[in-house]
Amino acid sequence: MVFEELHGRMLKSLRFFNILPETRGETHMPKIEVNETLFFSLVGRRYDAAELEKLLPVAKAELDEWNRDEGNEDDRVIKIELNDTNRPDLWSTAGLARALRIYSGDPVPDYPFFSRDGDQREAVFRIVVDASVRKPRPYIAAFVVSGKPITDAMLKDVIQTQEKLAWNFGRKRRTISMGVYRIALIKWPVVYKAVTPDSVSFVPLQSDRSMTLSEILREHPKGREYAFILENEPEHPLLVDSTGAVLSYPPIINSNDLGAVKVGDSDLLVELTGTDLPSVTLAASIIACNFADAGYCIKPIAVDYPFDTDYGRRVVNPHYFQAPVSIDANRIGKLLGKPFTPEKARECLARMGVRSDQHGVFVSASPPEYRNDFLHPVDVVEDVMIGFGMENFEPERPHDFTIGRLTPIELLSRKVKGLLVGMGYQEMIYNYLGSGRDYIERMNVPGDDTIRISNPMSENFEYVRPSILPSLLMSEAVSAKAPYPHRIFEVGKVAYRDVSANYGTTTRQKLGFLASHANADFNEAASHAAALLYYLGEDNAVGDSEDPRFIPGRQAAVLRNGSPIGVFGEMHPRVLDNWGVTMPCIAGEIDIETLLPGASSR
């Protein structure tokens, strides 16, 4: 048994009750690497693996890998998986460390460099937005990082945070992208504008020659990767300084001159552009808080828009835009199954880094600067839950009485399965996606009613199966060495086009059966079909059939009130030949949903 191996491979990949598909490409649930020394210095204390594993769930994080015996701690990394796709603040060393630090009792940090409504900080520089950029990518937020040179660990972390934010939160740079520059080289004010892609050229990172924007999209690796974002845009965003020198071509690539940052640089410009102002602003706030936690000094930059935004025409970043969310403490108690006083709820929120006020029974929670995930008062409830400690909630035995039952089609299916087993058939279960070759061509059918996927992973999984028979023949095609006779069946779903339905398709529960041996003939198929119908309480009514999958004159339609609900007979040798099957086969398929009481055909 390979349970251990299974453990490692499967636990992460088999997430369920989870809209987020598998993490194969890290598309949805980010996995980050944190530098061990930097991480624990930011947490303020060291943990061993067991302690860390126990604490990480408060940030909905899991320890993925930590090789504590390799190399020295300054170079070692800890791999951590983050499950909350709505908490981008946790996707960095500083952000995760902050959550653990506060949960363990440290005070909620102050970030005095944030501007708030009616309480603006003074900007050290200015970015001017040109009206031309409103269409392709209207928003920009920026600030200065200064105070000490950037370290290797911090630079790596910034790059990682930038990648996770732009990829996971920014939808592959569509809604957010980020750039970092050395202030010393920049002449202010910086201008954010849009230009036609052939009108400007500059030397991008990872290149040694000047290229136009069009050339970058065509020839540069990053250009090719992200060209889709600017598809169909006549003008492309560009960030230039007051002399016209290019800083970057958002969201594609930085300039090799102004936009190259290395270890030891100090006084950096951090800039984020995007299509959604709250997202761009929040991402800027997250990066600013991360630098501040690591001991850097954050200086505000003002952005002047020529058009109205939700935050006005002048926005000084970092900018606090979040609104407090108020909830009745009784509602917290009702949802969590345990009474909470407002004071108790506020204590729990504080452990989550959430500041709050109290108004009678109401608790008003202010999201931290780096979070914007309080959509509804219930989001505050979850923070109370985690702050209180999951382990402190005692499971309660359910007490509402309800009657359990299986669906009528499930019960009928079981009856059908019992009969087929009694007739000597082995039950099979198959996948529902397959190729046009298997479902259509090899079956000798036109395939007009077959549901095709417009974005198949491969042509092997391009169609939804319209019938169980091709699945059964797939088995025959790979089972010539299995001792005969073969008798196999499946009761399962099929789906096919149906113009009368709202979805243009219909899903039905069907029985498919197939027998293969030297003497398989029509009489056997007819006997099995008749026995099945007899014990299901149906008349054995059959009629002529002209199904191209069966031999003409050796097939019959199963009729119910005169309408066909199935077919059985000898499989056509042309079909068998298509599958490379050289043993005679009989088969049948019946729509068992028509046999349910009250079914439409009755």
């Binding site: 048994m1 349970f3 299974l6 491979r9 499967m10 636990l11 990949s13 088999l14 997430r15 009750f17 989870n18 809209i19 987020l20 598909p21 598998e22 598309t27 949805h28 909905k60 709250p278 609104a323 009702k334 199954g337 959509l375 509804h376 219930v378 839950m385 985690i386 999951m390 909630f393 499971p395 309660e396 035995r397 359910p398 509402d400 309800t402 359990g404 299986l406 669906t407 079981r414 087993v421 009694g422 007739m423 082995q426 099979m428 279960i429 996948n431 529902y432 549901i451 996927i453 992973m457 939804v464 088995s475 089972s479 299995a482 008798r487 789906a495 243009g504 398709t505 219909t506 899903t507």
Partner: protein
């Protein structure tokens, strides 16, 4: 095995040989055919079985030439050889021209010609002036009284003797020199269709009965085994009651029985059924639905923003045709759209974007079982418990841990007073009742449609801790637009991993194996 036990396993064919021959006798299958009336297969079986019990040993192999009567030879035996028929005709009907002979006897003219040539050389026939063949009666009498038998008589003897033998076989060793010469003219090795005999070389295996046979015979006698015991109990034996005077031959009951191809349920489906039964027994009602769904029910109704990264073209399968449902049911569409845009009447701030009513009709293959829970909400009872095991589709390369389509087990609980602790109670119930776990723990989780969200982990005796499922309380943005005013607990269980454990497999693809033999031989490892 001692001798007493051993003799009980002897087949009557062996018993008869032991009782009939003394130790040291040299036997062949042929001899048993001749002397004991066995058919060849029985004789070979008896000798091989005796060898297996060391009651006989192979003592050598003898190669010999045999002549086997062909269908033509058999015809000669019954209706006469061509020579005999020519002579008989001439004797009875008088002299005749060769073409007339050929026609009268229905023998090809060239065969009549060559027969005449040989017979006239031997002096039996001559040709008269009218070109008619004439019988030489003097030769005929002289030939029969002489010492040397003429060829025609030798041939008749050979055919007659062969017809009397089992299988129509004459051994070369049993023929005289003259007979061998005569045989040479009527036997062929190949193309024997037009010859009376087929020549073949046969190898005979010789066996010698071992000394131990004496002991075996004594033991047989002591045990009263005669070889006449009843084998198969037939209808005839029962009707006549003949079993009353006889003993039953004991069979070897430890031998490997023949394999049976039986009808059988699929272990994976049986496992899924057992989970359904268990959930029904816990008061859950099953739900089911269409494999094709809309963006609306698959994601929008679950309050996943339309720009959510899990809703990419690389995550969900789209239908090529038709691309969209004709309509989305009202008032759900308006209620859900409003909730996305600004929270509607749910106290939520919403996702703050413009809800795309065209996109929401996009047809997809259902990507998560939660779609069934969403669809159940508008008609769900309070209190109510529902579950479904739903086939879902994901945009993934197929390998040991990923399938194009697979099952998800999901459910919901509606009740005025259900809460986080009730949810933990249900999760504990699933852990113990469905997964058979003894230790359970819960950690905060994240799912876009529940708040709060938890993950349940259980301890497996071999695997250690692993995630059994995810759960939470549906966000009000999910329940309220669909008309539900009470809290709704939502949960899911990782059914595939449990199935692999139950079946002792480690590759998801094996759950849906095409291989008939693989499925037929698979055993359910649980209980």
């Amino acid at each position: 095995m001692d001798i007493k036990a051993m003799v009980r396993t002897l087949h009557p064919l062996e018993v008869k040989v032991l009782n009939h021959y003394k130790p040291g006798t040299e036997l062949s299958a042929e001899r048993l055919v001749k002397e004991l009336g066995y058919i060849e297969g029985q004789a070979n079986q008896a000798l091989n079985w005796l060898c297996g019990k060391e009651l006989a040993v192979e003592s050598g192999r003898v190669s010999k030439t045999v002549y086997e009567l062909t269908p033509l030879g058999k015809e000669w035996f019954e209706t006469g050889t061509p020579d005999e028929r020519i002579l008989r005709h001439l004797s009875e009907k008088g002299a005749a021209r060769l073409p007339d002979l050929a026609q009268a006897l229905a023998i090809p003219p060239k065969d009549v010609g060559s027969a005449f040539g040989i017979l006239s050389r031997e002096g039996a026939l001559s040709m008269d002036s009218g070109k008619r063949a004439v019988l030489d009666t003097g030769w005929f009498e002289a030939a029969h009284s002489g010492k040397e038998k003429p060829r025609i008589v030798l041939v008749r003897d050979l055919v007659t003797r062969a017809a009397g033998e089992k299988g129509g076989i004459l051994e070369e060793a049993g023929l005289s020199a003259a007979e061998r010469t005569a045989m040479g003219g009527i036997a062929k090795k190949r193309g024997s269709g037009d010859a009376a005999f087929r020549i073949s070389d046969r190898e005979t295996v010789m066996f010698t009965l071992a000394a131990g046979c004496a002991e075996a015979v004594a033991a047989l006698s002591d045990a009263g085994i005669t070889g006449g015991e009843i084998g198969a109990v037939t209808q005839d034996i029962l009707e006549k009651g003949s079993w009353k005077d006889s003993a039953f031959r004991p069979y070897n009951v430890k031998g490997k029985p023949a394999r049976l191809e039986l009808g059988r349920r699929n272990p994976y489906v049986e496992f899924l059924d057992s989970v359904k039964d268990k959930l029904a027994s816990l008061g859950f009602e099953e739900f089911d639905g269409s494999l094709v769904e809309t963006e609306f029910w698959n994601c929008d109704a679950l309050f996943m923003p339309q720009f959510h990264s899990a809703r990419d073209i690389h995550d969900v399968y789209y239908l090529a045709e038709p691309e969209r449902a004709r309509f989305i049911e009202q008032p759900h569409l308006d209620a859900v759209a409003g909730t996305h845009e600004n929270g509607g009447s749910t106290q939520s701030r919403g996702w703050r974007y413009s809800f795309d009513r065209d996109f929401t009709r996009r047809l997809i293959l259902r990507s998560q079982g939660t779609v069934l829970s969403a669809r159940q909400l508008p008609t769900a009872q309070v209190p109510g418990k529902y579950f479904g095991i739903a086939r879902c589709f994901r945009y993934d390369r197929v390998d040991a841990t990923h399938l194009s389509d697979f099952y998800q087990t999901e459910g919901i609980v509606l009740g005025e007073d259900v809460n986080l602790r009730t949810l933990l109670g249900f999760l504990r119930m699933f852990a113990t009742e469905v997964a058979g776990a003894k230790e359970v723990k819960y950690v905060p989780g994240y799912f876009p449609f529940t708040e709060p969200s938890v993950e349940v982990h259980i301890k497996h005796p071999v695997l250690g801790w692993f995630e059994l499922g995810g759960a939470g309380i549906f966000r009000p943005e999910v329940t309220e637009p669909l008309g539900v005013k009470v809290p709704v607990l939502a949960w899911g269980i990782g059914i595939d991993r449990m199935a692999l454990m139950a079946l002792g497999l480690n590759d998801l693809r094996e759950l849906f194996s095409l291989d008939i033999e693989n499925v037929r031989l698979r055993r359910n490892m649980t209980r």
